[in-house]
C-alpha cells in the first residue's frame, strides 16, 4: 500500500524496517539518538534533522551516539562490517569526509581486492549532500564524484522518496560499502511510497520522462530541475528524455547510451563541481561509447568551478536552475 510521505520519512522507514528485519543492522553517528547521555529527554534529536528520531525507542543500544571523531567511528563501522554486523554510519555532511576519508577509500573500498576476495564489508555511510541550505562552503558540497572515482565503493544518489526507501534498503542489504547521499533540499519533498519493504537494484537508471528529442541525464536534486525545464520545453514541442541514474557507481551506462542512440542529443545536469565531476564522467561515457549517435555537442549544466557561496542570491546563482537546463536543451536541439 503506497501513501504519500516525505523523502525524510522514507529514509526513516527504510532504516526502521531493516533494523526490524535484521538484528545485525546497527547505526552510529553524531547525535543520531541525541541526548542519550544527557540530563534531558533521550532521543531528543534523532540526528541533526530528526531523521532517526524514534528508532532508539525501538532498537535501543543498536543505535550509538558518537564523539566528534569521524575517523574512529566511521572506521569502527567499517571494521564492524567485516566482523558480522551491517552498520549504517551517519557522516552528518559529506563535507566532513576530509577527516575520515582514509577509512572509507583505503580501508573499506579496498579490503576485498587487497585480501584476494576474502572480505566482505557491508557498511553504509549515510550523508547529506548538496547546496541550497545557505550553509556555505563547508556544508554544501556534492563530492559524490570523489567517491565515484574510487573503485570498491558504490555511490547512491536518490531523487524521490520512493527511490530513497528502496535504494537505502538495497544499500543495507548490499555486501559492498555504499555511500548513500541524501540531498538536503529533497528531505521535504513528498511522493508515493509503498509501506512494505522493497529494494531497488543498483545500476538501474530511472526513466523519469520519456522523449525522443534530447536525452537529459540529471542527478539528485537536479532531476526535479530538469523536470521543470522539460515541462516547459514540451510546450514548445521539444521532448526530453530524463534519465536519473540513481546510482553513480555502478552507473547504468546502457540506459544512457540507448537513450542517446535514440535522441542523438545529450544534456547532463549535475550539481557537483564540474572538473572531474559527474557531468564530465557521463559526457565522456557518451563521447567514447555512443559518439556516432550524437548529432551535436554535448552540453553540461553544472555549477561553476568555485566553492559554494553563503549569500542566498549567490548560492541560487551557483546551483543550476531550470532556465539553464532549458537553454542547454534548446541549444542541443537546434544544433546538429
Amino acid at each position: 500500500m503506497a501513501r504519500t510521505i516525505t523523502f525524510k520519512e522514507a529514509i526513516h522507514e527504510a532504516l526502521d524496517q531493516e533494523m526490524a528485519r535484521d538484528e545485525t543492522v546497527i547505526m552510529m553517528g553524531e547525535d543520531i539518538v541525541g541526548g542519550l547521555h544527557a540530563d534531558g529527554e533521550d532521543d531528543a534529536w534523532g540526528g541533526v534533522l530528526g531523521i532517526t528520531k524514534g528508532l532508539y525507542a525501538k532498537y535501543g543500544d543498536r543505535l550509538l551516539d558518537t564523539p566528534i571523531s569521524e575517523s574512529a567511528f566511521i572506521g569502527a563501522a567499517v571494521g564492524a562490517a567485516t566482523c558480522g554486523l551491517r552498520p549504517v554510519a551517519e557522516l552528518m555532511f559529506i563535507d566532513f569526509m576530509g577527516v575520515c576519508f582514509d577509512q572509507i577509500f583505503n580501508q573499506a573500498a579496498k579490503f576485498r581486492y587487497m585480501f584476494g576476495g576474502k572480505a566482505e564489508t557491508p557498511v553504509v555511510i549515510r550523508t547529506m549532500v548538496g547546496a541550497g541550505f545557505r550553509a556555505a562552503a563547508q556544508h554544501s558540497q556534492g563530492l559524490y564524484p570523489v567517491f565515484t572515482h574510487i573503485p570498491g565503493l558504490k555511490v547512491v544518489l536518490p531523487s524521490t522518496p520512493y527511490d530513497a526507501k528502496g535504494l537505502l534498503i538495497q544499500s543495507i542489504r548490499d555486501n559492498d560499502p555504499v555511500i548513500f547521499c541524501e540531498h538536503k533540499l529533497l528531505y521535504s519533498i513528498e511522493g508515493d511510497v509503498p509501506e512494505e519493504s522493497y529494494a531497488i537494484p543498483f545500476g538501474e537508471a530511472n526513466f523519469v520522462r520519456e522523449g525522443d528529442d534530447v536525452t537529459v541525464v540529471a542527478l539528485g536534486g537536479m532531476v526535479h530541475v530538469a523536470g521543470e525545464a522539460a515541462e516547459k520545453l514540451a510546450g514548445d514541442g521539444i521532448q526530453c528524455e530524463i534519465i536519473d541514474p540513481r546510482t553513480t557507481s555502478p552507473l547504468d551506462e546502457d540506459s544512457i547510451i540507448e537513450s542517446v542512440e535514440k535522441t542523438g542529443r545529450l544534456v547532463v545536469v549535475d550539481e557537483s563541481s564540474p572538473r572531474c565531476g559527474m557531468a564530465a564522467d557521463i559526457a565522456s561515457l557518451v563521447a567514447t561509447q555512443a559518439f556516432d549517435s550524437l548529432k551535436g555537442p554535448i552540453q553540461n549544466v553544472t555549477p561553476p568551478h568555485t566553492p559554494v557561496p553563503f549569500c542566498d542570491e549567490l548560492e541560487d546563482l551557483y546551483i543550476p536552475d531550470a532556465a539553464q537546463v532549458e537553454t542547454a536543451v534548446r541549444r542541443v536541439a537546434a544544433g546538429g
Binding site: 553524531e30 547525535d31 541525541g34 541526548g35 542519550l36 547521555h37 544527557a38 540530563d39 534531558g40 529527554e41 531528543a44 534529536w45 541533526v48 551516539d65 564523539p67 566528534i68 571523531s69 569521524e70 575517523s71 574512529a72 563535507d95 566532513f96 576530509g98 577527516v99 541550505f133 545557505r134 550553509a135 556555505a136 562552503a137 563547508q138 556544508h139 561553476p304 568551478h305 568555485t306 566553492p307 557561496p309 553563503f310 549569500c311 542566498d312 542570491e313 549567490l314 546563482l317 551557483y318
Partner: protein, 323 residues
C-alpha cells in the same frame, strides 16, 4: 594582574558587545531574515575576552563554528560581522562566508570554522610562522569539548609540543557537542585537561564564567609561549545560553538548566558585581558602556539590513589569486 580601570572597562565592553550581538542575532534570526546555520556564543564571553585581552596585534587565533565571540574579542569590526551574517557585500567576507566563516586575517583572526577541529592544525602553523619569522607572536586555537575529540585537535597538541610552538589550546567545555554531553564524550570524565600531560604540556582547568580566572591563566600561558616555553592547554568550563544552533529546542537539557546557569553563573553579572563592589568602577560607567554597545548593535543591524547583496559577478571572483 595588570588589570587597571581602563582594561577592566575594555573587558566589560568586549563581553557586553558579544552578549548584545548574540542576543540580537537570536532575535533577528527568528524573523527569518538571516539564513544558514548560526551558533551563538552567549554565556561564554569570559573565555574569549579573558584570552584575547592577553593578546596583541602579533597574535593569531582560530575559532570554531561558534565564532562570533572570538571575532569580536580579537577586534573584528562588529558592523562587518553583522553584515556578513546577513550575507551583504559590506560584510567582513563580502557575504560569501556567513556566520560560520567570518575571518579577518589583518586582525589575526584566522577564521571561524565549519569543520569541528579545523582550527588547531592551522594554529600550529600560525605558531610556527611566528617562531620562524621571530615576530614574538603567539597563536591560540579555541575548540569545543566536542572538538577536543577530533583527531586533528589531538595531533596538534602533540605537534605543538614537539615543535615547541608558541601555541595555546583553549577548550571551551560548555557541556555539550550539539546534544552530546561532554561528561560522556570526553573520556567519560568530561575533562579535556587530563589529556594535556600525555601530550607533554601543562594543562589548567578553570571556571570559564570567571573572566579573572581566564585572564590570569591565559596570561601565564601567553608569557610561557612568548618566552619559548611551549604550548599550554586551558580548559574553560562554561555554558551556552542558546541552543546548539538557532532553531534547537534543547530538550536534551535538564528543565531549568539554562535558567539556573543564567542566574548563578552569568559572566557579565559576576564581572559587574566584582568590579563595582570594590568601587573601581561605578554602575554608571557600565551603563554608559551598555548604552554605547546597544547603539552599536542597533546600528549594525540597521546598516546590515539596508546594505546591498553582493553583485552576481562575485560568484566567480576570489577563487584564486590568479588562475
Amino acid at each position: 594582574m595588570d588589570l587597571n580601570r581602563q582594561k577592566l572597562l575594555e573587558a566589560y565592553e568586549m563581553m557586553k558587545t558579544i552578549r548584545e550581538f548574540e542576543d540580537r542575532v537570536h532575535v533577528e534570526f527568528a524573523t527569518g531574515e538571516i539564513s544558514g546555520f548560526v551558533h551563538l556564543y552567549a554565556g561564554e564571553e569570559a573565555s574569549a575576552a579573558g584570552v584575547c585581552l592577553q593578546l596583541d596585534d602579533r597574535d593569531k587565533i582560530a575559532s570554531t563554528h561558534r565564532g562570533h565571540g572570538h571575532c569580536i574579542a580579537k577586534g573584528v569590526e562588529v558592523k562587518g560581522m553583522m553584515a556578513e551574517i546577513y550575507g551583504k557585500q559590506i560584510g567582513t567576507c563580502r557575504g560569501k562566508g556567513g556566520s560560520m566563516h567570518i575571518a579577518d586575517l589583518d586582525k589575526g583572526m584566522m577564521g571561524a570554522n565549519g569543520i569541528v577541529g579545523g582550527g588547531p592544525p592551522l594554529i600550529c602553523g600560525a605558531g610556527l610562522a611566528a617562531k620562524t619569522l621571530g615576530t614574538g607572536g603567539v597563536a591560540v586555537a579555541f575548540v569545543g569539548d566536542g572538538g577536543s575529540n577530533q583527531g586533528t585537535t589531538l595531533e596538534s597538541l602533540n605537534l605543538a609540543t614537539i615543535w615547541n610552538l608558541p601555541c595555546i589550546f583553549v577548550v571551551e567545555n560548555n557541556g555539550y557537542a550539539e546534544t552530546t554531553p561532554s561528561k560522556w564524550s570526553v573520556s567519560l570524565s568530561g575533562n579535556a585537561v587530563d589529556r594535556a600531560a600525555g601530550f607533554g604540556m601543562p594543562g589548567v582547568v578553570l571556571d570559564g564564567h570567571d573572566f579573572f580566572a581566564v585572564y590570569e591563566t591565559a596570561g601565564e600561558a601567553v608569557d610561557r609561549a612568548r618566552n619559548g616555553g611551549g604550548p599550554t592547554l586551558i580548559e574553560c568550563k562554561l555554558n551556552r545560553y542558546y541552543g546548539h544552533f538557532e532553531g534547537d529546542t534543547q530538550t536534551y537539557r535538564g528543565p531549568d538548566e539554562v535558567k539556573k546557569v543564567r542566574e548563578a553563573k552569568d559572566c557579565l553579572a559576576l564581572f559587574s558585581e566584582k568590579v563595582t563592589r570594590d568601587g573601581t568602577i561605578s554602575g554608571a560607567d557600565l551603563q554608559e558602556i551598555d548604552d554605547r554597545v546597544m547603539q552599536l548593535i542597533e546600528d549594525s543591524v540597521v546598516e546590515a539590513k539596508a546594505a546591498p547583496k553582493p553583485p552576481a559577478a562575485d560568484l566567480l571572483t576570489d577563487v584564486y589569486v590568479s588562475y
